[in-house]
């Protein structure tokens, strides 16, 4: 039992003979890929055959799609040619014909440079946010500021006023029920993601708190909201408010819908965050408490940074589903991207048969944004400075 007192003396052992060796270099080339594939076939013939069949199917359908979408397709807005090519080739001319209605919805035709500029602005700010270095503490405030500016300019461009106040730019006033297409989709999803996240964090903290009142309230809220489909929340937000609060001037339908999506998504976000909170060990809390940190500071500096980093994939999943759920606002006559597509085609007997092309078009737009979102999340991950992997 005294031996540890002598341990220190015996540690200075020469280690010069332990010359470290570099690991073998990884060679990545086509020949190794082929070699590995061959090996796989040899070792697992059934799986190999299955992958081969799948590969052939993918190639065949890819070729068929190329035929339909490129070689036999009509790229100009020519109704007769489209009719002729029907069922053999795509009619991308439909998009050339209708893209303004799909992208900008019912926004007054002559003023459509305004939603265009708004979207470009959002895209710029979004790509700025994709730059990893800008998330460093030194620059982070500028990024936040750029979002504030983006929001203000968006409001001015889209409505022509600044929250109802005429600021004398000579822009025609456009009511929010005429907003539509891509800018509406972006507005709904960005605002509800930005608001639902902090709200969800608060709900998760409430649900994991020791205080029975707060805990019960949070549990009730989350279970209640999760038990209801979004479409009915939107319906209620739009039509129930005047019934519940008679005599009160009900706010703009866009605001009500925004509140609806936010409150709805917050419940889902809360459960994702709660999983993160539970993944942070009790020892972390005890260490923070023993240093004298109070509840909020413990959460802010110790628990949440770790919890959110742990559940980042779940959070991004949640954001993506909020983004796509915004397509449900069509039910209350707000025509975002999906709704605007319906608006563009449903009433038009000539172009209606080419809805598939339209869905592919907006599908591509949705995909680009979701892809950007998941890229963005990786920067969040870097910014939160999680434990680096052991490099030794």
């Amino acid at each position: 039992m005294h031996d540890h007192l002598h341990r220190a003396k015996s540690t200075k052992v020469s280690t010069h003979y332990l010359k470290s060796q570099n690991p073998p270099k990884k060679i990545r080339s086509w020949s190794t890929l082929i070699h590995l594939t061959r090996l796989e076939f040899k070792q697992h013939p059934v799986q190999g055959a299955l992958s081969m069949i799948l590969l052939v199917l993918v190639i065949l359908s890819g070729l068929a799609f190329l035929n339909w979408g490129v070689f036999n397709a009509v790229f100009i807005s020519d109704e007769a040619a489209c009719q002729l090519a029907r069922s053999t080739g795509a009619c991308w001319g439909m998009i050339a014909e209708k893209y303004r209605l799909i992208l900008w919805g019912r926004f007054p035709f002559e003023e459509q440079w305004r939603p265009l500029t708004s979207v470009v602005l959002i895209l710029l700010t979004l790509s700025l946010s994709c730059v990893g270095t800008l998330w460093r503490p030194a620059y982070r405030q500028w990024l936040y500021l750029s979002w504030v500016w983006c929001a203000a300019i968006f409001e001015i461009l889209m409505s022509g006023t600044f929250f109802g106040i005429d600021i004398g730019l000579g822009l025609a006033k456009v009511e929010t029920d005429l907003w539509g297409g891509l800018p509406l989709t972006l507005l709904l999803s960005i605002v509800s993601i930005a608001l639902a996240t902090p709200l969800g964090i608060l709900l998760a903290l409430a649900r994991t708190s020791d205080m029975p009142m707060i805990k019960t309230l949070a549990v009730t809220y989350i279970e209640l909201v999760r038990g209801v489909p979004l479409i009915s929340v939107l319906f209620m937000a739009s039509f129930m408010f005047p019934l519940l609060m008679p005599g009160l001037q009900s706010p703009d339908v866009l605001l009500r819908v925004l509140a609806g999506i936010t409150l709805f998504s917050a419940a889902y976000t809360a459960e994702v965050v709660r999983a993160g909170l539970l993944s942070v060990g009790a020892g972390q809390l005890e260490a923070a408490q023993s240093l004298g940190l109070g509840y909020w500071k413990t959460q802010r500096f110790v628990v949440l940074p770790q919890a959110l980093a742990h559940v980042l994939p779940g959070l991004v999943n949640n954001f993506i589903s909020i983004f796509k759920d915004t397509s449900l606002v069509t039910i209350v006559s707000l025509y975002e991207l999906t709704g605007a597509l319906g608006l563009a085609l449903n009433g038009d007997a000539i172009w209606r048969p080419f809805k598939l092309e339209g869905y592919l078009f907006i599908g591509l737009i949705y995909f680009c944004f979701c892809f950007a979102l998941s890229h963005l999340s990786q920067n969040f991950n870097k910014a939160s400075q999680t434990t680096p992997k052991m490099s030794a």
């Binding site: 220190a8 923070a288 940190l293 500071k297």
Partner: protein
């Protein structure tokens, strides 16, 4: 400085602490030992209110620990704790671990906190790892960082909850060396440990616990050479038997 009076604690029906009476004076170095499950950790965790108790009174630095959150905050600022599992914050660098509480709790300026942190890191001889993350350090280094972290709050009392039990044998000594140095600098220490060599060397008093009770309190000399209680004798016999 610390005064337990008839403290009783239950976990459900399990009686974890029974009628604990214990006084620790300023500058004393008290080692708490005993078999596992005897309530040693529970006892010292009461001192900074990580555990509550059901009856009795506990005064720390002349503040009576009760349900008032303010008294708890007050006590925690003057009591530092080192844990068996280190409990460093893995998402922060060593320096950030050290400066968090001084900046957020003591409202120290970041420059001063940094200066203090470097001084404490030098004290535990680990200043060259200041910018690393905890996961990049060995267990012994992590525990020394944890000690430096508590020292940054300039506590009057230091609690050690089995600080070397989670370490590889070859790292125990570097942590004990730091603790011995602290002991010679006059800080009040209460330490739960199985390192009897260390106990012999630094303790001003040894407290032996079993089944939630304090069985024996003695000077190290008497404790090791003339243990009075049969349970103490059995415990020591087992420890010294290999």
């Amino acid at each position: 400085m610390i005064e337990f009076k008839l403290i009783n604690k239950w976990y459900g029906n399990y009686h974890a602490l029974r009628d604990i009476n214990l006084e620790v004076k300023e500058g004393e170095r008290v080692i708490v030992c005993g078999p596992s499950g005897s309530g040693k950790s529970t006892l010292i965790r009461c001192i900074n209110a990580l555990e509550d108790f059901q009856s009795g009174t506990l005064r720390v630095n002349s503040v009576s620990l009760n349900e008032d959150l303010r008294s708890v905050q007050l006590v925690r600022q003057s009591v530092g704790m080192v844990f068996q599992q280190f409990n460093l914050f893995p998402h922060l660098t060593v320096l950030q671990n050290l400066t968090l509480a001084p900046i957020q709790v003591k409202k120290m300026s970041p420059e001063n906190a940094l200066f203090l942190a470097m001084a404490q890191l030098t004290r535990v001889r680990i200043e060259e790892h200041a910018h690393k993350f905890p996961a990049q350090l060995s267990g012994g280094q992590q525990q020394r960082v944890a000690i430096a972290r508590t020292l940054c709050m300039e506590p009057k009392i230091l609690l050690f909850d089995e600080p070397t039990s989670a370490l590889d044998p070859e790292m125990i000594q570097e942590v004990l060396d730091v603790m011995i140095e602290l002991a010679t600098q006059g800080i009040t220490m209460i330490c739960v440990t199985h390192e009897m060599g260390f106990a012999k060397r630094v303790a001003s008093r040894i407290v032996f616990m079993d089944q939630g009770q304090i069985m024996e309190e003695a000077q190290p000399e008497d404790f090791f050479n003339h243990p009075k209680h049969p349970r103490t004798q059995a415990f020591l016999a087992k420890l010294l038997d290999h």
